[in-house]
């Protein structure tokens, strides 16, 4: 069974963008519904930020990838999403139109970005430590686990200065790599509860159809129905992404071929790592 995996926000924008009509159509939808042009980098909303631009770019690339796969007759038996990958996943599963997926990304992103006006936040990407010391150092510095991608690949989220200190401690503790990336808001932490009213208002503005393909969520690995979606989209912003558990559950559900739909190949690499850890043992 084929699984389409929708990645979250990329850390960088590729310098090479697609050139064809499908991409131009996606760009037009970005301009009209997300108020951002992913080709020129121009915002048509006064509160747009570089981070939200990356989020929209990521969703646009996933929508474009999904179009290409559909045109070539490749269809998923199951769909999985990582973080903001939920938005293009909803379009891919028929729960929302493409333009609504872009609009919700932009609206939600700009609301969250308000948190970054008075405080500076950062994401900390840690490779090589195991979960236990990672959680200990996160607690020491008052930052949060945002992604458990594998047993050695994690993302922390919190205030930028605290994150820089946490990354320095991670390196001292033996992390192979520990880097801080600036962000507007502390994604996947309870701190986002500060924007609860505004975010819930946005997510409840849309009518979600039941996914036409099973859509596995990254929190508890159950499949989402249309009625679950508004609540899930708020809740997932406050809780860590459990990718390793999701990948294992997908394998358990019968997925054998995994296609990453969007820019980059991080999810494929996490899967490769998880597979390598289980080689010779029971399948994940």
């Amino acid at each position: 069974m084929k699984c389409f995996m929708l990645p979250g926000q990329p850390l960088f924008r590729s310098p090479r963008l697609p050139q064809d009509d499908d991409w131009q159509q996606i760009v037009a939808l970005c301009r009209s519904h997300a108020l951002f042009d992913p080709e020129s980098g121009e915002w048509f909303a006064p509160d747009g930020t570089d981070n939200v631009a990356l989020q929209i770019y990521g969703v646009a690339m996933s929508l474009y990838g999904a179009r290409l796969l559909k045109k070539s007759g490749v269809t998923p038996g199951i769909v999985a999403e990582h973080s903001m990958g939920i938005y293009p996943a909803l379009a891919l599963c028929g729960s929302l139109p493409e333009e609504a997926a872009l609009e919700i990304t932009s609206r939600g992103g700009r609301v969250m970005a308000r948190m970054g006006i008075s405080r500076r936040y950062g994401l900390g990407c840690v490779v090589g430590l195991t979960l236990e010391p990672l959680l200990a150092l996160a607690k020491n510095h008052g930052v949060y686990l945002a992604n458990q991608n594998t047993d050695r690949h994690f993302l922390l989220s919190g205030e930028e200065l605290a994150m820089e200190a946490a990354m320095a401690e991670a390196l001292l503790a033996g992390a192979f790599s520990a880097r801080t990336f600036p962000c507007d808001a502390p994604l996947h932490t309870p701190l986002l509860g500060e924007m609860e009213r505004e975010l819930r208002e946005i997510f409840s503005d849309y009518r979600y159809r039941d996914p036409v393909v099973p859509l596995m969520n990254h929190i508890d690995q159950s499949c989402l129905s249309g009625g679950d979606l508004a609540e899930f989209m708020y809740r997932e912003l406050l809780l860590p992404v459990q990718w390793e558990g999701t990948y294992r559950a997908l394998r358990g559900a019968g997925a054998t071929l995994f296609l990453e739909v969007g820019g980059g190949d991080s999810l494929k690499k996490y899967n490769r790592w998880i597979d390598s850890q289980f080689k010779g043992n029971d399948s994940p």
Partner: protein, 85 residues
């Protein structure tokens, strides 16, 4: 001595990272592994650390050593030649 490890290291990279459609001849011995060269990232690097340890018993003890070892295929081969058991 590390010269004889160049080809096996290229193959180790291809196998550990499951790079499809690439042979060892496609990998430049002195090109950077990260960024402009093979385009690897920290996820790949950890996979290579584990593969090197499994294949040659050679460890990369910390991030600072890793940044030197993973400059190119040649630096990986040199690290293995100096530290293999």
């Amino acid at each position: 001595m590390s010269e004889e490890l160049i080809e096996p290291v290229k193959q180790l990279i291809i196998d550990a990272l499951r790079i499809e459609g690439m042979t060892s001849a496609d990998i430049d011995t002195d090109a950077p592994l990260f960024g402009e060269g093979l385009g690897l990232d920290s996820i790949d690097a950890l996979q290579l650390v584990v593969a090197m340890e499994k294949e040659y018993g050679v460890v990369v003890p910390d991030a600072a050593t890793g940044s030197k070892v993973f400059q190119s295929v040649r630096t990986m081969a040199a690290h293995i030649a100096e530290n293999r058991k």
